[in-house]
Amino acid sequence: MKAMTIMIIRKVLNSVITLLLVIILNFALFRLMPGNPINVMVPPDPRIPAEYKQHLIDEYGLNDPMYVQFFTYIKNALLFKFGDSFTDPGTPAMSIVLSNLKWTLILAGTSSILMIVIGMAIGIASAWKRGSLFDSGSLAFTLFFYAMPTFWFSMMLIAIFATGLNWFPDSGALKFGTRPEWTWASFVDLIRHLILPAASLTLGAIGEFALIMRGSLADVMTEDYITTARAKGLRERDVMRYHAVPNAMLPMVVLIAMTLAFVVGGVFQTEIVFNYPGVGYLTIKATYDLNYPILQAAFFLIAVIMIIAVFIADLLIIMMDPRISVG
């Protein structure tokens, strides 16, 4: 128990340090910009009233010495304050990012669950029947999708199923001009818009999970306790279900956390191709408009979410691994 507590405290400390380093990185990056740091926080548009600009300079202390600015920045970052969006003055950047976050969560959540479940099932099946046609087939499938850029696969899906067959809409999260409502029609519309982007994300990543699961199981299958289980006369099914799969889960959890960072990268690409109004779409649009507050807010929010996700994964590993939890 004691070893476990120490480990958890260590993980908490590491996460806090990582968070602080992310804030420092964020601060440094956005002040690497040539010219005045004021350009990063105050919209350059001359039509915007000077009082509003002065108000922003005062509020974020942009004329203070650098070290004062740094501490103001840390304080503001922890309060999620990154200034107002350049394109709509008066609206905090973070609130725009947060309002787009729900779409990213819907898209990433749906496809993450699908890719983990389907990927693991394929991985188990191919590890069970190693060297079979199914095994080599799924390996080829995996490699092909691994080598495929997500944005290109999304474009192909649009070409075939949206503009070609006209089965699904090619852009947006809902019919143009509508807002999400708690009605059946709205829900069906949401699903119709979700299918293609979710399919492109899921199919692209299934392979990776299948490969990890297969590798992890292949390692476990060489262990002595599997031979023992077989010698006891257990059916192959039960050896798999009760002895092999549970032990192969540990590396799986580690890798799910690691792969999450890649899922985010995939979501960004899918969103831009499908004009799906999530955080990725917003962020990439912000780079075109040089909308720095949005860029900072999105970058920070994603970093925080990732740090929390990795921390949870670490906790799960500590709980699951008997070598740690028993002592």
Binding site: T18, L21, V22, F151, W152, M155, T222, A261, Q269
Partner: protein
């Protein structure tokens, strides 16, 4: 080979080391040759490399065989500027909205895609290996500091970090910038891997022996530790090239790569195809061909890398 080396005045130990290196390379090749997937990848990659290096010559030969009116260049306006034309006898894949021949652009596009993939990999592997070597070798507080920095890069999604860096770095879009951005975002995984490997190597007796003979840190890392992690680093570099090429195409696709009017990459061709509404104009080959090129190049690097990994990675060899 030996006599040539001797003429250049190299010392005895150097010759011995070169002979050993050749012996190892030959041995590795013998194992590699038996890996079917690895060989397929190698042949496919060689084909791509030949086409990219001799792109102008390939175009010359093609235009003479097919009887095209001229030898096209990737930026030549040989068709009306506008929405692009479907494939014809003179333009096998059609033309894009810039009036450029799509086949020509695809062939020239291999150059920058391969180049960026290779150079960015050198940057990220160099950085990752250096951090991993010293972090693992030193241990203690220096390891702690380096690992916390590594964590930051590991936890941030690669694409998000790349987007922010590419958007913020001063100067317009350029090949150098893309190389820098991909290199600086891709080293953390390597650092972790090398560190783990070093931590298991550094307790071997030969390191102890070197130290008691008075060798310094830098010398031990260079002469004793690095040669032992090199094969693994090499196998992973090949896999990293695949990822770097994917990163380059993604960055170019979201318009953060090099300028498409001056540099062709498969990524910015696909971005053109998207803004040019290639789907609606029935120019499917405009999307299909550059995309498949990316897939096959990435696939061949992945096959080669996995084959090498199977040879060099002690954890995989066991199976």
């Amino acid at each position: 080979m030996t006599s040539e080396v001797r003429r250049r005045g190299l010392s005895g130990p150097t010759i011995e080391r070169l002979r050993l290196l050749r012996k190892k390379t030959v041995a590795t090749w013998k194992v590699y040759r038996r890996n079917r997937m690895g060989m397929i990848g190698l042949v496919a990659l060689l084909a791509f490399v030949v086409i990219s290096v001799f792109a102008p010559q390939v175009m010359w030969v093609l235009s003479h065989i097919a009887g095209w009116p001229s030898v096209y260049g990737p930026f030549d306006e040989i068709a009306p500027v506008g929405s692009g034309l479907p494939p014809t006898k003179d333009h096998w894949l059609g033309t894009d909205f810039r009036g450029n021949d799509i086949l020509t652009r695809t062939i020239y596009g291999s150059r920058v895609s391969l180049l960026i993939g290779l150079v960015a990999t050198l940057v990220s592997m160099g950085l990752g290996t250096a951090v991993g070597l010293f972090s693992g070798f030193w241990g203690g507080w220096r390891d702690e500091v380096l690992m916390r920095v590594t964590d930051v890069f590991l936890v941030l999604p690669w694409l998000v970090l790349m987007i922010v860096l590419a958007a913020l770095l001063p100067g317009g879009p350029s090949v150098m910038k893309v190389v820098f951005v991909i290199g600086i975002t891709g080293w953390s995984g390597t650092a972790r891997m090398v560190r783990a490997e070093v931590m298991s190597i550094k307790n071997w007796t030969f390191v102890e022996r070197a130290r008691s003979a008075g060798a310094g840190d830098y010398y031990i890392v260079r002469k004793h530790i690095f040669p032992n992690v090199f094969p693994l680093v090499f196998a992973n570099s090949v896999l990293t090239v695949a990822l770097s090429i994917l990163s380059e195409s993604t960055l170019s696709f979201i318009r953060l790569g090099p300028d498409p009017t001056r540099v062709v990459t498969w990524g910015n061709m696909l971005e053109d195809a998207m803004t040019g509404h290639a789907f609606l104009n029935d120019l499917y080959l405009w999307i299909l061909v550059p995309g498949l090129c990316i897939v096959f190049v990435v696939l061949s690097f992945t096959l080669i890398g996995s084959a090498l990994d199977e040879i060099f990675n002690p954890k995989l060899r066991k199976r």
